[in-house]
């Protein structure tokens, strides 16, 4: 049973960054901008949040008020993610640049910048920023006894502030996209910007909003990923930004389905790591490194899904196309 609790718990903690970042991609693409830079934005968000946590740790504030410190770190991740995504927004919206190339530039920049900064701040050769242990939410926070039971494992083994925040942001995304005028207008800009323009919506402004929100979410996703991995931040988010793109596509650019596919992809990640100790998985006798097999599967499934859905893809119709007010 403890294995099951462990798997569920781990799946949740890995699904959190995937969902947040995929939701970020969703906002951006619904506004009409392909955000290939999610990976880079995650790195920047994680970098700045980790430095913040480290600062709280050395000052001693973190040990006294761990969750306040964590909240501040998350806010730092979100804000720096937004600032970094401005670079993509400026290139894609104002300069009408190729969005995929612009995104590639940010993806090249972010990890390099993170390494250089880590060196500069921590000293030569120290490429990993350690994450303080006090950030975890424990039973004590709720006045409970620490324990090793099923529910203790399930809830508290990997319980961080990012999880409740992700749940809030998920509901916020669903409401924002479908229940507010912002969502309606944002989606209109990604589908048919000329139509949006003709009813007086400022397409440029909506696209900026879409990209910035994606920066906000990907930044938080960056720190959430780093926490989930648990071994500190070493200037990489392990391709989760790209995986989140797959999650977004697999989730049909819709919040609820994105949540589902984030859990699905996270489950595969966890199985990949724990496949030997999970009793009900098929055992391929004599095959080594089965984790690679399980890690590969989500990508293969995504490709197969793409084959079947490409004919009626739900992708925003105008994504990737710079909007020019002059052309009709």
């Amino acid at each position: 049973m403890s294995i099951l609790a462990n798997i569920i718990s781990l799946t949740i903690v890995f699904a959190v960054p995937l969902m947040l970042v995929a939701l970020g991609g969703m906002y951006s693409e619904h506004s009409g901008v392909i955000n290939l830079a999610l990976e880079g934005i995650m790195v920047i968000g994680a970098l700045c949040a980790c430095f913040t946590l480290q600062a709280f740790d050395t000052s001693g504030f973190g040990k006294v008020h761990p969750q306040i410190a964590m909240l501040v770190a998350i806010i730092v991740a979100a804000v720096t993610g937004m600032v970094f995504s401005l670079l993509l927004a400026f290139a894609a919206i104002n300069l009408k640049a190729d969005q995929t190339i612009g995104g590639t530039a940010l993806n090249t920049f972010a990890p390099a910048f993170a390494v250089v900064m880590t060196w500069a701040i921590q000293g030569q050769g120290l490429t990993t920023i350690q994450i303080p242990s006090w950030i975890r939410i424990t039973q004590e926070n709720f006045g409970l006894e620490p324990g090793k039971g099923f529910w203790d494992m399930l809830i508290f083994k990997y319980f961080y502030l990012t999880t409740p925040i992700a749940i809030v942001l998920f509901f916020a995304a669903w409401i924002l996209m479908y229940k507010t005028k912002f969502g309606l207008r944002l989606r209109a800009c990604g589908e048919h910007p000329q139509a949006a323009d003709s009813v007086g919506i400022n397409v440029y402004r909506m696209r900026y909003a879409g990209v910035l929100i994606s920066g906000f979410l990907a930044g938080i996703g960056g720190i959430a990923y780093t926490i989930a991995v648990g071994s500190g931040f070493n200037s990489s988010v392990g391709g989760y930004g790209f995986l989140a793109l797959a999650v977004m596509i697999f989730g049909n650019w819709k919040p609820v389905q994105i949540l589902g596919s984030a859990v699905f992809f996270a489950l595969f990640k966890v199985i990949a790591a724990y496949n030997s100790s999970i009793p009900f998985l098929p055992k391929f006798e004599g095959m080594k490194d089965q984790s690679s097999l399980y890690q590969m599967l989500p990508y293969i499934v995504t490709m197969i899904v793409l084959i079947f859905t490409s004919k009626h893809s739900q992708a925003p119709k105008a994504e990737g196309i710079p909007y020019d007010k002059g052309s009709r």
Binding site: T104, T108, W119, Q124, F242, K288, D289, S310
Partner: protein, 420 residues
Amino acid sequence: MNKKPLAENQMLLTILASVISIAAGLIFGSVLLMILNPAKAGIGISAMLTTGFSSMDQFGKVLYQSAPLMLCGLSVGFAFKTGMFNIGATGQYTIGAFLALVGAIAFQLPWWACLLLSLIGGAVWGIFPGLFKALFNVNEVITSIMFNWIGMFLVNLLLANMPIMLASAWGASNSDRTANLAQANPGAVIPKGGLDALFGNSSWINISVFIAIIFAVICWFILEKTTFGYELKACGYNKESARYAGINANRNIVSSMIIAGALSGLGGGLYYLAGTIQYVLEKKTLAMGFNGIPVALLANSNPIGTIFSSLFISYIQVGGSAMQPNFSSESTDIIIAVIIYLAAFALLMKGVIQRFLESKIARKSDPGAGETKNDTSGDATNAASGAAAEDAAADEADDPEDVAAGPESGAAEDAGEVEK
């Protein structure tokens, strides 16, 4: 009369744009270093800029690393010419490297046969994005990214299950990397062709850079001199007019991705058959393929230009490693990132500059826009004289979309295809 041919201007324009990008990247990188560590910045910058030429050994390393970079750059550039963004070079590179090593270690093949295998491996991995685009109209960027990861995990999986491939089977203790070729199969190591003597016994240098240059020339030849290249470029510039001319666009998309994949794959073969590097079972995709993107962008996808841009990128990368321990070698990636960022809208800027230049030329050469001939025979005197500039303008007013699309109309149309 304009004396300077426009084609030459365009070439100049491209080179100018690349030089501006490089300068901006270097300045940005230097400023960052100065902010981070003012005391050591000078040493770091000079290490980055001079190491490549500091010794024959280092220069040998520049040449050695430039070969796979050149091929990845050619790969990305070749796909660009057909209107495809091959962000999957790294996956093709990984598969190519894997097959080359399998040929070398498991089957004990000679180096040239291993290179052939790497070529085939990359080509196979290049088929997928091409086929998915042609058959299902799936954006090649998405397919490429997915197949980068599939490729990496697949190689890890296969290597883990081929014990003979690993270093542990050849007397070494580690099983996280492939065997050292010097022990496993010296015949698979790419020959040095006597160059080591010339390069002060550099362990890096071999003939791979010349192989890469030969492929660059072949690419140039295909694109510029053959009907196949003519068709590929027509598809890349304007898919609709290619169709109008009876060209099968889908077949060309797949062909160009196969070739692009083969080039990246060969890059992987060249890098790992040098005998100096062992393939380590990685958890992240290899950077080499991604670095093909700035190489291609700097060269404006021109194969001959790729030779120089890959040498440049390799040069600053070698310089980057020499910046340690004062700075991380990743500093050079920041410069590369700035270059890519600027390249994203370099096309646009070039278009603006070009139109600006053209309007100047048109105004200077009088009467009639841009004419060199003064042939006034025939009934058509009216047709050209004086009215040409005006009717070009009228033509533009006729379809405003065309004007807006400007120099990137090809790319825009392509994007339009993706969404349908």
